[in-house]
Amino acid sequence: MHPILTNARKLMWYLAAWLLTGVFIALLLVAADLAQWGSALWFALPATFLYSFIASSAYYVCRSLPMAKRHFAFATAVFGGSSLIAGFAWLAICQGWNQLAHLLSADYAAVQVTQHMAVVLFAAGCGFYLLSILAHDVLIAFDNVRLAERRAAESRVLARDAELQVLRTQINPHFLFNSLNSISALTTIDGPAARSMTIELAQFFRQTLALSEKQAIPLADEIALCNSFLAIEKIRFGKKLGSAIEIADDAQRALIPPMILQPLVENAIKHGIRDLVDGGTVSIRAFAREQWLHIAVSNPVDSQPSNAVGNGTGLKNLQQRFASIYDGQARASWALADGQFTVEMALPLAYTEI
C-alpha cells in the first residue's frame, strides 16, 4: 500500500508541494522571459500535477531496494535508470500538454520548447524524481523507526505480562516449607488439625492457580484467597496473627486484577507482624465511591526495623501492574504513620469485564 496515495491528508500535502513546484517552474519561465504569467502557470501546474503521480512511483523503487540490502552500484543503476525514464516521461508530459493546451485554447500562447529548453526540462524531471526517491526513503525510514518503537513497546508489555504470570503462580518456597513443617509437627500433636491444614494448603494453591489464569476477578474471590492464606498463617503464628476484613456490599462484586491483595497480606505478615513480639492484626478494607474502588491493606510494624524489611519490590511490581493494566487510571500508594503501614489503592470501578 502506498503511504501517500492511500492517505487523504498526506496526499493533499504531497500535491500541494508539487503545485508549489509548478508555480516555481512558472516563475522561472517568466523570469527567463519565455512566457507570460498566465501561460506559464497554465503550462506548469497541470504538468507537475500529472507528474506528481509518476514521481510517487519512487515509493515502490525504494521498497524494492530496502536500505539494508543496497549495494552502491546496483542502487545507482536502479535509481539512475528509473529517474532517466521519469525524466523522459516528464519531458513528454510537458511537450504533450503544451501542444494540447495550444489546441484547446486559442488564448494560450504556447511555450517555445527549444532543444536547449528540452534538455533543461529533462534534467529537471530526473532531478525531481531523485528528490522524490530521497523523500520516500526518509518517509520509509520514519515509518520503520515508528514500527520498531511500537514493536519494542509491545514486547516490553508482553515481557512484563509474562513476568507477572510467573510471579503470580510462583509458590513462595519459604511459605510452603514452613507450612509443611507445621503439618509435620501437627501430625503427632493433633491429627485432625494436621489434616485440616493440609486441606487449607491444597485449597490455597488451587485457588492461586485458578485465579492467576484470569484477567479480572471479583474482589470477593481475592478476599477468599486471602482468607485461605490467613487461615494457614494463623496455624503457623498462632495468637500473634489477627485479621480484620471489611468489604462493603457494593465492593464485593467489583472486578480487580487477580493476586493483588494476597501478596500484600503476605508481606504485611512477613515484614510487619512477624517482627512484633506481641503480634498484630492485618486489616483489609474496601468500598466503592463514585467511579472508584478503594482498597486499603494495613498492618502494624516494629519501631526498630529488622533485617526482614523489604526493599519495596512487591509494591513497585503492584504499581507497574496497575500502570500496564489501567494505563495510569489506577493508583497505589503506601505510607507509614504511627507504627502502622498502609497500602492504599484506587481502581476504576467495574462490575463487568472491560
Binding site: 519459604h174 514452613n178 513443617n181 509437627a185 501437627l186 512477624r274 517482627d275 516494629d302 533485617n307
Partner: protein, 243 residues
C-alpha cells in the same frame, strides 16, 4: 555419661518448636532448658543459661540466627534449622556447616544431633569462617549492652572512635560502646562510604559537613552534628582519594 545436654530451642513458630521438642524427647540425655521465639530473647537466654546445644532457626524476627551467634560470640554447639533461604544456604554449603531443612525427619534430626554431640564444647572452624564471612558486608551494627541489643543500620552511623578495647559508635545523637577493634570494624564497612581518617576514627562520608584546615598542614573533619574529628596525613590522602 550421666551429664545431661542442656538444650535451648530457638524458633519463632510454636509448632516448629514443638516438633523439635518431640524429636528431642527420644534422647534421654537431652534436657530442654528453654524456648525462644525471637532473636533478641535468644541472645539473652544464651548469655544467661549458657546452653550446651542450641537449635537455632535462621530466619527470625528481630535478629537472624547468624546475628544471634555474632552477638553471643558463640561458635559451638549449634544445630541450624531453616525452611528456605537461598543466600544463607549457599554460605552454609560453602563452609560445610550442617543444617536441617524443614520439614525434616526424626532420622535426619538424629544424625545432626549425633554430629553435634561429638563436637560439643569445641569451637567449629567451619562455623567461625561462616560467621566471619557473614559480617564481611556489614549492613547493621549489632551492639549488646547488658540486657539490651541495639541494632544500628550502618548508614545511620555518624562516626566510630577507638577507645581502648572498645569502639564507640555515634548514631543519631546517641553513643554506643561495642567490644571490637576499630580495624576490624573498618574491614567490615564499605570503603566507599566509610573512611578511616585517623588512627582512632572512622567517619561516614554521608555525615560529613566539610573538611577544614586546622593548622598549616593538618585538617579536621566537621561532621553534620557539629563534632570535629582530627584527620591524619594518611587519612587526608584516603579521604581525598574517594571524594
Amino acid at each position: 555419661m550421666s551429664e545431661t545436654i542442656k538444650t535451648l530451642i530457638v524458633d519463632d513458630e510454636d509448632l516448629a518448636r514443638r516438633l523439635v521438642r518431640e524429636y528431642l524427647g527420644k534422647h534421654a540425655d537431652i534436657e530442654i532448658i528453654g524456648e525462644c521465639d525471637n532473636g533478641l530473647q535468644a541472645v539473652k537466654d544464651i548469655a544467661a543459661l549458657n546452653p550446651d546445644l542450641v537449635l537455632l532457626d535462621i530466619q527470625m524476627p528481630k535478629l537472624t540466627g547468624l546475628e544471634v551467634l555474632e552477638l553471643t560470640g558463640r561458635s559451638s554447639g549449634v544445630i541450624f534449622t531453616t525452611a528456605y533461604d537461598q543466600y544463607a544456604l549457599k554460605a552454609f554449603d560453602l563452609h560445610a556447616v550442617d543444617y536441617l531443612l524443614k520439614p525434616f525427619s526424626q532420622t535426619r534430626f538424629d544424625e545432626a544431633l549425633a554430629q553435634a554431640r561429638k563436637a560439643l564444647g569445641q569451637t567449629l572452624p567451619a562455623l567461625e569462617n561462616l560467621l566471619e564471612q557473614a559480617t564481611e558486608k556489614l549492613e547493621r551494627i549489632l551492639i549488646r549492652d547488658r540486657n539490651q541489643v541495639h541494632v544500628i543500620p550502618v548508614e545511620k552511623m555518624d562516626y566510630a572512635e577507638a577507645q581502648d578495647d572498645y569502639v564507640s559508635i555515634q548514631s543519631e545523637g546517641k553513643c554506643y560502646l561495642k567490644t571490637q577493634r576499630l580495624s576490624d570494624l573498618e574491614t567490615q564497612l564499605d570503603p566507599k562510604k566509610f573512611v578511616r581518617v585517623h588512627r582512632s576514627y572512622i567517619i561516614n562520608i554521608e555525615k560529613l559537613q566539610s573538611i577544614e584546615r586546622a593548622t598549616k598542614d593538618s585538617h579536621v573533619a566537621l561532621m553534620r552534628d557539629g563534632k570535629q574529628i582530627p584527620i591524619s596525613r594518611a587519612g587526608y590522602d584516603r579521604i581525598k582519594a574517594i571524594m
